[in-house]
């Protein structure tokens, strides 16, 4: 155990101190900081001059009714920031000057109504386009005004409100509709569809994919370089290959954790900054709704899945003699992790599909698909246990196999051996 600690410490220390690690970590942290600030910057630039920036004019050509309805609708919006001004200009030129004088974002022209139809509307602005935030407000405002215009008082306000409310399509299972299964209480079921759940699953999957890929490659190239520099021959006569392999895997895992930790802290600090907090609030996210059970299961699957991949990467690294050949050799593993990632990501909206069900029991894909099923789908507890058991069993199996390959592979130099050659070598070395 003592030697395992020595291997872990050495791997960790040397990896962390490499220039490439320091630079990538800092660079990514910087990119994240910039990324988080993007909404703020956008706000900063679009909301450039505060006064009048969100003012839009309406030239209604005397159809004050419509103007009134738009104004009513807009002012009733929660958190409305758009101010409506009525423009008096008689022709386009006059309107343009007026809009510029009042520093409007643009103005809306309402053509005269013909034959009782809702009049054509046009947004006139400097750039000749409708800004997204203005569009978001004006579109429903105009639709509401149109409804009122066409019904012309024939419907009550409630009826109009009902008309504009979209139909809610509920969903339930056969069992629930038949009453054979107690309908879930409001709490957890509504939790399933909160955005935090979705984000947690998404983040965990992405995290898994990237750490499996990046640290896996790190491990493989580490092993290959040890082999090509022949340190391996000394190492393998000092420590058992299993200790060596696990030491390396755990060491690099800790490096990965450190990196993730740095990113986590970067994100947290950035989100805490006052100007970003407002932006975040705009996204309507509530971190207190973080689904802890999904997070917990996610971490277990994450760590176990990581080890499964890392051990295989170590084995692959051991059969390659030169770093240049490594890329080709790890391709199958890269494919596997890509498959795990994409099956998970593309099935986020159909977590109960057959594909998801099958792949959540396949050890290579279960770390992502199981998280998705736990977080967003319906799953029985025994399914989670079974999947975990399969994953752990496969870690033992592939750990054993990898140790054998590792032991054989590190002594085979020259061209990358085929499976058959490897088996023969194992027999020859009596491993």
């Amino acid at each position: 155990m003592n030697r395992l600690g020595t291997v872990i410490g050495f791997t960790f220390k040397n990896k962390v101190r490499t220039k490439s690690f320091v630079i990538t970590t800092l660079l990514l942290a910087l990119l994240m900081t910039i990324g988080i600030h993007v909404p703020f910057f956008i706000q900063l630039f679009t909301g450039g001059d505060e006064a009048g920036a969100n003012k839009i004019g309406i030239a209604d050509g005397g159809q004050t009714e419509i103007t009134q309805q738009i104004e009513d609708y807009v002012s009733a919006l929660p958190g409305n920031e758009i101010e409506i001004v009525t423009l008096q200009g008689a022709d386009t030129a006059a309107l343009n000057t007026e809009a510029k004088e009042q520093e409007l974002k643009g103005y809306l022209t309402i053509a005269p109504s013909e034959g009782g139809a809702f009049p054509a509307v046009e947004f006139v602005s400097e750039s000749g386009s409708v800004p997204a935030d203005v569009q978001a407000v004006l579109q429903p405002a105009l639709e509401s005004a149109k409804t009122r215009f066409i019904t012309a008082g024939a419907l009550s306000d409630e009826q109009i409100a009902q008309l504009t409310t979209p139909v809610r399509l509920g969903a339930t299972s056969y069992d629930q509709s038949a009453g054979t299964e107690t309908p879930p209480t409001d709490g957890p079921e509504s939790d399933k569809f909160n955005p935090m759940n979705f984000i947690t699953v998404y983040v965990l999957m992405t995290l898994f994919f990237f750490s499996a890929m990046l640290t896996g490659n790190m491990i493989a190239s580490e092993v290959t370089s040890e082999k090509s520099s022949r340190v391996m021959e000394i190492l393998i006569t000092s420590v058992s290959p299993l200790t060596q392999m696990f030491g390396k895997v755990i060491g690099v895992f800790l490096v990965g954790l450190l990196q993730i930790g740095v990113f986590g802290v970067t994100i947290a600090i950035n989100l805490m900054l006052p100007h970003n907090r407002n932006v975040l609030a705009g996204f309507d996210l509530d971190f207190s709704q973080m689904p802890l059970d999904v997070l917990g299961y996610g971490l277990v699957f994450y760590i176990l899945g990581y080890f499964l991949y890392a051990l295989l990467y170590a084995a692959v690294g051991s059969i390659v003699s030169r770093t240049e050949d490594l890329g080709q050799a790890v391709t199958p593993l890269t494919m596997l992790s890509l498959a795990a990632f994409y099956i998970g990501i593309f099935s986020l909206n159909s977590t109960n599909s057959l594909l998801m069900k099958i792949s959540s029991f396949v050890p290579f894909t279960s770390p992502t698909t199981m998280i998705a099923r736990i977080g967003l789908g319906e799953i029985a507890f025994w399914e989670i246990l079974l999947s975990l058991a399969l994953l752990i069993a496969s870690i033992f199996f592939f750990g054993w196999l990898s140790a054998k390959i590792y032991r054989t592979g590190v002594l085979m130099y020259g061209k990358r051996p085929s499976m058959k050659e490897l088996r023969k070598a194992m027999k020859a070395y009596k491993i």
């Binding site: 030697r3 020595t6 040397n14 370089s225 022949r230 340190v231 021959e233 000394i234 190492l235 006569t237």
Partner: protein, 301 residues
């Protein structure tokens, strides 16, 4: 004194090819044992089996009476033919690391490291990375890495190759020091003069088989003396006419006579003394080089 490292009838096969065929040898405490052989004779395979890198198909290897195991790993030191060190890690760090892996305490390893660095006049490399060092210095560091944990059994595969004469002397001194401290050293090389200087017992391998084994002096005595070195004040005539002499080369500063029989020595000396003043007369014993070429070469024919 009993042998510390013993190989008995060790066999290694790769598929249907036999790499090492029934080799037996024993290395005592405080002994340097020479393992000689042409390329591909099975030296490295033998060493790898001793190191536990690969397992013999047949036969046994014991270390101080014990079979291979975790505690054996700690008492073995190894300098591979192609130096094994991390190119991008500081010398001090990796050597202490390797010593720790062999069960040595970090502080003690550092002390030993400094001792050896001083000995090799290489203290300024303590904080350097291996890739910054010259090839010869890398090799010195590799040697330190192999001996820093004070191994009882030391395996040196071509320890002196690629070194300049000054450094060869330094390393030879180090090897002798370790031997005098009681280490059992298994030593492979192509350089026969090193073997003659350092080793008492040798094994010559050729194509997986042991062709010669034993004490160097006895081996030499077993081979006929075939050369006479003669230095005289003036020219000596008629040497090639003496029965048993098959060839004469050189001048009065040093005649080299090839003889088919040692009994030719006396007539040669008498002839020389009668004609001139003899300054040097030696019936040369065969060099290890000649023995090696002979025993390996003969089999190749």
């Amino acid at each position: 004194m009993t042998d510390r490292l013993i190989l008995q009838n060790v066999v290694k096969r790769y598929g249907d090819k036999t790499a090492v065929d029934r080799i037996s040898l024993g290395v005592k405490e405080g002994e340097i044992y020479g393992l000689l052989g042409a390329n591909g004779a099975g030296k490295t395979t033998t060493m790898r089996m001793v190191l536990g890198l690969i397992y013999p198909d047949d036969g046994t290897i014991t270390y101080g009476g014990r079979p291979y195991g975790g505690d054996v790993q700690r008492m073995v030191g190894y300098l591979p033919e192609e130096r094994g060190l991390y190119p991008k890690v500081k010398v001090s760090e990796q050597i202490v690391y390797l010593a720790k892996l062999r069960g040595m305490d970090g502080a003690e390893a550092d002390k030993n490291l400094r001792y050896w660095m001083k000995k090799f006049e290489a203290e300024e490399y303590y904080d350097k990375r291996i890739e910054e060092l010259s090839k010869g210095n890398q090799q010195k560091m590799g040697f330190i890495a192999a001996v820093v944990h004070r191994p009882q059994i030391l395996i040196l595969d071509e320890a002196f190759s690629g070194l300049d004469p000054v450094n060869v002397e330094l390393l030879k001194l180090a090897v002798k020091e370790l031997r005098d401290e009681g280490a059992s050293i298994l030593f492979s090389t192509h350089r026969m003069e090193h073997v003659e200087e350092l080793c008492r017992n040798i094994t010559i391998l050729d194509r997986s088989k042991t062709v010669l084994q034993g004490d160097i002096r006895e081996i030499k005595n077993g081979f006929p003396r075939e050369q006479i070195l003669l230095k005289t004040a003036s020219a000596v005539e008629g040497l090639d006419a003496i029965p048993g002499v098959t060839g004469v080369e050189g001048d009065p500063n040093g005649y080299l006579l090839r003889i088919s029989d040692e009994s030719a020595a006396v007539p040669v000396l008498t002839a020389a003394m009668s004609q001139s003043e003899v300054r040097h007369f030696e019936v040369k014993e065969p060099t290890l080089n000649q023995i090696f070429i002979r025993s390996v070469g003969e089999r190749n024919e």
